[in-house]
């Protein structure tokens, strides 16, 4: 079975520190420029906390918090623990972080010829694990 820790460590290489580029839509919540840190965008942190985060909270994100967010918001949504192949799982997980799980799962479904619903389901898992 695919391993979240390995996927997290691999993807962390791609994620930088705090940025607040105004032209990146992922840095905004409404009219508030919150920024992104360690791959966690402003809307994702808002969903995790259940409220709008402050800029300081975004800047102070700990690795443990990032790991918890990524596990809950991405790995569990794509049902990563059910994937047999680590490499496949890491590709889709990386796209989840980059563009959200709905887009990532939909693209994976297109790639393997499963119905492109954008939601992980038994058909997709079965096709993924067929080989």
């Amino acid at each position: 079975m695919a391993d979240f820790k390995k996927a997290f460590d691999r993807t962390a290489i791609n994620e930088g520190g705090y940025t607040n580029n105004p032209s990146d839509r992922g840095n905004w919540i409404g009219k508030a420029l919150i920024g992104t840190n360690k791959g966690v965008s402003a809307p994702v942190l808002k969903d995790f906390l259940g409220r709008t985060p402050t800029v300081q909270e975004m800047k102070n994100l700990s690795t443990d918090t990032v790991r918890a967010i990524f596990k809950k918001s991405y790995w569990d949504v794509m049902q990563g623990d059910k994937w047999h192949d680590q490499v496949k799982a890491e590709h889709v997980y990386d796209m989840c972080i980059n563009a959200g799980c709905s887009a990532a799962i939909k693209l994976w479904q297109l790639a393997i010829g499963a119905p492109a619903t954008g939601k992980m389901n038994k058909i997709t898992i079965d096709k993924t694990n067929l080989v």
């Binding site: 791609n14 590709h91 796209m95 994976w108 297109l110 010829g113 067929l130 080989v131």
Partner: protein, 123 residues
Amino acid sequence: MKIFMIIMLALIASCKTPAPTTVAVCDFSADSIRLSNKLHNFYDTVLYYYDIEHEGNLRTIDSLINARTPIIITGDRKRLDSAISAMQIANFKLERIRYYLNITLKNPTQDKFLKGWVRRAIE
């Protein structure tokens, strides 16, 4: 950036020939490299394969591919699984690049991110 986008679109177009639907297959014991290339060229995705004995040879497989007929694969299962997995991942990378291109085509202000997105997709 526009030249880069045009090159990427051309690459995608060349990789994804229209038409294919179903299943690819082959007798990997015959000529795995050649047949693997054929799968890339003629089929979008390998959906299924069956462990059915098939007395295929290259000529038979050629005619089936030319007719866009679903074919049955036989041969070494490990090599086959490995080839199919590689194709699934390659398909995913192409879908990912297509997704990013669509974002920039709809919103050119996102152009500046395209190079990094594509680099990450193909890693």
